[in-house]
Amino acid sequence: MLRASTTTVRNSTRLARSFATVVDSASGVKVAAIDNGQPTSAVTFLVKAGSRFENKPGVAHALKNFAFKSTNTRSALGTVRESELYGGVLTSSLSREHLALTAEFLRGDEEYFVDVLASFITGARLPRHELNELVLPLVEADSVAASNDPTTKALEAAHTIAFRHGLGASLFATQHPSFTIDDIKTFATSAFSSGNIAVLGTGIDQAKLSKLVEKFLGKIPSSSSAATPSTKYYGGETRVESTNPLQTVFIGFGTTGAPSNDLAALASHVAPEPHVKWSKGISPISEATPSGTTVQTVYLPYSDATLFGVLIQGENAADTKTAAQAVVKVLKSQVSETDAKKAVAKAKFRAASEADSRDGVVSLLGNKVFAGADASIETTLSSFDAVTPSSISSAASKLLKTKPTYVVVGDITALPYADEVGL
C-alpha cells in the first residue's frame, strides 16, 4: 500500500516534466529533452540534411546509409560491436527535411552513445571503399524496396509533381546513382555545422544532455541554418505503370506556409478508419468503399508546406474508382458542427498518441526545436482548440480551389483520370 502510493508520487513528479525547453548550447546546437521516467533513454541528432537540401539527387540517401560507419574515433565494426556490448540500438532515418541519427540505450550509458552520434557529425571519414562495399548495397536495397511499394511510389510521385524542387526531390537514390564520394563529402561538410543540428532526448535529463552535447559537439564549425528557396505548390496529374496487384490512386492538395491544424483536423474528418474493430466505420467514405479497398488519409506537414491527401488502394481499378469518387464527394461537402468536433478530437488524439512514441516526438517537435519555438507537447495539443467548424470548411474550400495533385500507380489503362473521379 505504502509502496504503491510512493510510486504514484514519483510518477507524478516525473510526468510534470513532460515538456522540452529548447536550449542553445554554447556551440550553437539546439538541445531539447523530455524525461517521462522511461527505463530507457534515446537521443536523436536531427540534422538538416534531408533530400530537399541535397546538392545532387540521392546524396542525402547515401549519407543516411553512411551513418555509424567509420569515424576518426571508431571503425564501422567497432561502433556496432561496442554498441552491442552496451545493448543499445542505433538507427538512422531520412525525411525530406531531416536526417535523424538515433541511439536508444539504457539509462546511464548516455556518455558513450552521445559520443557515437557526435563522432559521425564531427569526424566521419567517408572513405570511398566504404561507399562501394557497405553503403551502395544498402542504398540499392532501399531503392529497390521503395520502387516495389506502390504507396511509396505514389507519394514520391505526388511530392515531385506537387513541389517539383526542394521538397519534390526524391528520398531515394536511383538504382544507378551518379554521385561520387566527393559529392557526399561536400554535402556532409555543409550539413554538419552548428546551425543545422538539433539534439532531442527522451528519457534523459536536459542538463545532462546539454553537458554531453557541449563536450562532444563543442568544436563543431558554426553556421547559420541551411536555407532553401521557399516551397511553391504546383500540382498536376501523373500516371505510373506498375505490375503490383494493388491499384493505387492518390488525391492530394498542397499548401505552402507553416502547417495549420485545420488541415490536420480535415485529414481526421476524411479518415474513414473505424473506431472499433471488425466494423466498417460510419463515415460516408467507408460506406461507399467496396470491400477489399482501403482508404487512408495522408497528412505530411513540413516546415514551410503541407501535403494533404487521400490514398486509395484496391484490388481492381473499378473498386478503386468508386472509392475515389466517394472521397472527392466528401472533400467537396460541407463539414457539419458535430463532424468538426469529432474531427478535432480525433486529430488531437492522433497528435497526442504520436507524442507517446519516440519517432513521433521527433517528427512532432523537430521543426519547432529548429525554429527555437516553444517545443512542448502541451502547446502542440492545445493549439487544436483554436480549430472551429468554419475554419475547417474554409481550409477545405481553399484547398479545392488549388490544382489537385493526382497520382495513379498500377494498371494505367484502367485506373481513372482526375476528371473521372470528379476533381
Binding site: S75, L77, G78, R81, L85, R128, H129, N132, E133
Partner: protein, 129 residues
C-alpha cells in the same frame, strides 16, 4: 601471415630510422631493385604482391579506376614481354620515382580491419561502473 615477401615482417622501418644504416643500405636496395628486373618489364613492386589472398583481393577492389586500369595494363605488357623473352624498350622501363607502393596502404588497411574483427570476436568483457 606470410613470412617472406612484400607482406611479411620487414626491417625497413628500423633501417630508415637509423641515419647510418640508411646511408649504407640505400644504394644496395637500389642496386637490388634494379637487378630484380621487374622494372625492366614495366612493373611496379606492388604488382608482384601475392594476390591469391582474400585481403589482397579486397585491397585490389579498393583501387580507384585509374590505378586498377594501369595495373592491368602493366601486367599484360609484362606477360607479353615474358612471352617474347625480351625486356621492354628502355623508355618503357619503370623508373625508381614511379615505383610507388600504390597497393600496400590498401592491403594494410584490410589487414588491420581483419585484426580488429579478430579482436572483437575474442573479446573478454568486463564492465567498469
Amino acid at each position: 601471415m606470410t613470412v617472406f615477401g612484400p607482406l611479411g615482417p620487414s626491417l625497413a622501418n628500423y633501417v630508415r630510422s637509423s641515419k647510418t644504416l640508411h646511408r649504407w643500405l640505400k644504394p644496395v636496395s637500389l642496386w637490388y631493385a634494379n637487378l630484380a628486373g621487374y622494372r625492366r618489364m614495366g612493373l611496379k613492386y606492388d604488382d608482384l604482391l601475392v594476390e591469391e589472398r582474400f585481403d589482397v583481393q579486397k585491397a585490389l577492389g579498393r583501387l580507384n579506376a585509374r590505378e586498377a586500369y594501369d595495373r592491368a595494363f602493366r601486367i599484360k605488357r609484362a606477360s607479353h614481354a615474358s612471352v617474347v623473352h625480351a625486356d621492354l624498350p628502355k623508355d618503357e622501363w619503370v623508373s625508381a620515382s614511379e615505383d610507388k607502393r600504390y597497393l600496400k596502404p590498401h592491403v594494410l588497411e584490410v589487414v588491420n580491419e581483419d585484426l580488429e574483427r579478430q579482436k572483437w570476436d575474442n573479446l573478454t568483457v568486463s564492465r567498469h561502473r
